[in-house]
Symmetry: C2
Subunit: 135 residues, 2 copies
């Protein structure tokens, strides 16, 4: 099921602008900033405004259809894949790679429990440099 269908289910009105933004998000395979979503949407419909992009992303975040992320930059990026996963950020290119790891999941919950807490949420970001293959 795509974002447009899931939004309709939540009772959001399907305006032309909204459809375009959802299409842009559905087709994104990266972690776009608001600015990036705006640029891609504007290429499809020049009348879309920044304010609408912000409002739409805030709505989607509340509905948990996207996840707002903060990769040590001064603006937010959006994660369209809402499956539980973590990120490795290439410190040279800025590329973001997603990964999952069950051992880490178990360990996280155990650490929280040891400190007297139930784990509600969690964020793991690795920052790394690509290993050059020696020839």
């Amino acid at each position: 099921m795509n974002l447009e269908q899931r939004c309709a289910e939540s009772g959001l009105k399907m305006t032309g602008q909204r459809k375009i933004i959802l299409k842009v998000l559905d087709e994104a395979d990266d972690h776009p900033s608001v600015e990036a979503v705006y640029e891609r949407a504007k290429a499809l419909d020049a009348t879309i405004s920044m304010a609408t992009v912000y409002r739409t992303l805030n709505l989607l975040d509340e509905l948990q259809l996207v996840i707002r992320r903060d990769f040590n930059e001064k603006f937010s990026r959006y994660d369209i894949n809402t499956d539980h996963h973590h990120h490795l950020i290439d410190v040279e290119s800025g590329e973001v790679i997603e990964f999952q790891n069950q051992e880490i999941e178990d360990m996280k919950a155990a650490i929280a429990r040891n400190l007297g807490y139930d784990l509600v949420e969690c964020k793991l970001e690795l920052y790394g440099r690509k290993i050059k293959k020696s020839s």
Copy 2:
């Protein structure tokens, strides 16, 4: 060795304002925001300005004497303990607890290596709710 001594070593001039800000940081056992540092410093010397607090924290961050953090809030906080550690944030009170865990360290490096990266840096934040003791 305290912050003032470490700053002097880096060739920073020890002005009255700077001494006060460093004292505030040395005595902080939390993860204060710029605003918090400013308030605490102002209580000791009313002439200190916000701009000086920002400039000082930026300097200290560059010298790696503090670490700028971003706990999903719209402002930065500063970590004065620069030993490697992670954070558990109490989702109800906002309290920040530091912890270390060698297994996680090893696993992080292994994950990065498997993805073809050398680990440069990393951020692990757990968000949890305090477990109520049953009576």
